[in-house]
Symmetry: C2
Subunit: 363 residues, 2 copies
């Protein structure tokens, strides 16, 4: 794709338009806004595979009635520091927002909070939810199942999702340390992005439907499989996440978790797992934050391999992207902006407001 096929769009315009898109499709304004903010946050962090590229499919599923516009979120079981939450087939962001708030509240009062949520949908980036804990002087953890995409080692069929995991740790002056990983070699979103750009993917990411290596996104997306990172390691981590997000809450697992792209008959049945750990229960938070700074500095001071000028902490590159994109705007493919404009016209968003998406310079 040439540079001229991309727009720079201000994050505020993106949030405004996406909020309206969800709201005009029946989602209560507050829920529409938090969903839009979560998606745009991914674009701001440079994780565009999990950003507004997902808005179209969310809208389609809302329109088809496969995702509830006004879900009935219910606490199924609750203790001082645990909750099983039924998401009522609402947008994943709506469910996750309430779930992570509950986890933080539990940790505020009882040191640790765990919320396992079922009957939900795609929740965007795991790190968006994990990092919600940081301002409360807590460590945040978020994980989700996703539909089966990967074979177990030596298997020849998709049986397990490349379930994402994020763990976020607050710092003082340096950026927070944020792990956010899919349990495949790469996330499916990166394959979708390559497809949207018309590019091939590198060796080793995935196999086709026959279990054979391929570089073509179409062959991966059409019945092929992503590979677990580190073989049994990524497989094991993904299986544990399946259990925390789909078994612990009496939710769905395995083939009962459905693809939002392929299945328009049944709810996706996604489950999530959230945890907040209150630093105060272990250590003075200010001391913890300063020690994390020291840890980060220790890591930054690693001698570089030839040709490398800087070592980054987990999540640091994304945090730097965020700062830059907040100022300069998010870079989006023209095809994606066109799609958002079409959805906007469909629900009667004014041309004037939609033009905000295309008024930035071509990047």
């Amino acid at each position: 794709m040439t540079e001229l096929n991309r727009y720079r769009v201000s994050h505020q315009s993106l949030i405004d338009v996406c909020t309206s898109l969800f709201a005009e499709n029946g989602v209560p304004l507050e829920d529409a806004k938090l969903t839009a903010e979560a998606l745009v946050d991914a674009d701001l962090h440079g994780v565009s595979s999990h950003g507004v590229i997902r808005a179209g499919i969310y809208i389609k599923r809302l329109q088809e009635g496969i995702v509830r516009q006004k879900p009935d979120l219910k606490i199924v079981k609750e203790t001082d520091n645990t909750v099983v939450l039924d998401g009522g087939n609402g947008l994943g962001q709506v469910v996750s927002n309430q779930a992570m708030e509950l986890a933080i509240q539990k940790a505020q009062d009882h040191n640790v909070g765990i919320v396992s949520a079922k009957n939900s949908n795609h929740f965007g980036t795991a790190s968006y939810w994990a990092t919600k804990a940081l301002e409360h002087d807590m460590i945040g953890i978020a994980a989700s199942n996703v539909p089966p995409l990967m074979p177990p080692p030596s298997g020849a069929a998709a049986r397990i999702g490349n379930n994402p995991l994020s763990i976020a740790v607050p710092a003082d002056r340096v950026k927070p340390i944020v792990l956010d990983m899919a349990t495949s070699v790469v996330a499916l979103g990166k394959v979708l992005l390559a497809k949207s750009r018309g590019e091939n993917v590198p060796d080793g990411w995935a196999v086709d439907k026959h279990g054979q290596a391929t570089n073509r996104p179409e062959e991966i997306l059409n019945g092929g499989y992503l590979l677990p990172v580190g073989g049994p390691k990524g497989y094991g981590l993904a299986a544990i996440i399946d259990i925390l997000t789909g078994v612990l809450n009496e939710g769905a697992f395995g083939s009962d978790v459905h693809s939002m792209y392929k299945d328009f008959e049944r709810p996706a049945n996604i489950g999530h797992f959230f945890m907040a750990i209150n630093l105060r229960s272990f250590i003075e938070p200010a001391l913890f934050r300063k020690s994390v700074d020291l840890y980060a500095q220790y890591m930054k001071n690693t001698p570089c391999a030839p040709g490398v000028s800087e070592i980054f902490l987990p999540g640091e590159i994304e945090a730097l992207n965020y700062e830059r994109n907040l100022q300069e705007g998010v870079i989006l493919p023209k095809s994606l902006v066109d799609e958002l404009v079409q959805y906007g016209q469909q629900v009667g968003i004014s041309d004037e407001r939609l033009q905000e998406l295309t008024q930035g310079p071509l990047a």
Copy 2:
């Protein structure tokens, strides 16, 4: 190494001799026994890289006074469901045993228990501690830091341990599902084992001290570095474990964590993190266990890749090893048995008892 250089040793003989070895080197009998049991459990599971191969270095450090024979374990900070434990520089197994018991007790009374332990030593396999939770109808988690072994991505010096993580989940009729992974492509123990067998290691495991690829265990152990699994993923997970095991408890991290093989001047300063999650707080445990069985069956039923006859769940191969080795005995290299015999003679264990190690058939 030829087959004739290996003994089959009964696990009970191994536990008895190792218990005596530790006890005769000043460790209270109960602590000596639990340490021996933990090491032999690794051998029983076929994880011989973390088994009695470590007894020699433990003994050497006890003799040199770098590990405390009778540590003063102290609870530094405690809430309803969290503990910061100072291990008093005791054997890692002694510290971990108390820490995991505390985590389980907290989870019994308050749904979730977390214990972060500092001033400890090598704790063997992470899964040994995580699986302690299973009989209590809990999910168990165990992690540890280890001395810096890996460079961060693009780095040219060791800055981060290949910190292990285990998460164990109980099942009903099938084996429990047990993730146990080091955050490097492989564990250092596998390099040590290759060295003890005089074998090279496969491509991609590690680099030498110049950051160049090598297959020679000696070059890896002599200033080289293991590589993180999945690049930024293994690096990120290892960094988070560093923080949970070395920062959260005001313990040691980075270059303040020392090698038990290279540094005989200072305590190793190892830290651990343990968690127990009470199933009852979320779901009826019997239902959970049955659902895990269904999950395992679903995975076992995956079509196999050509030439493969069976799909395994995480931890299943190790559990099958355990059952077999419990009956048939543990296979150990002759050189390792000879070393144990030498240590035994050093502290006056009778020849009759030491002969138990070599009375099994050569394997």
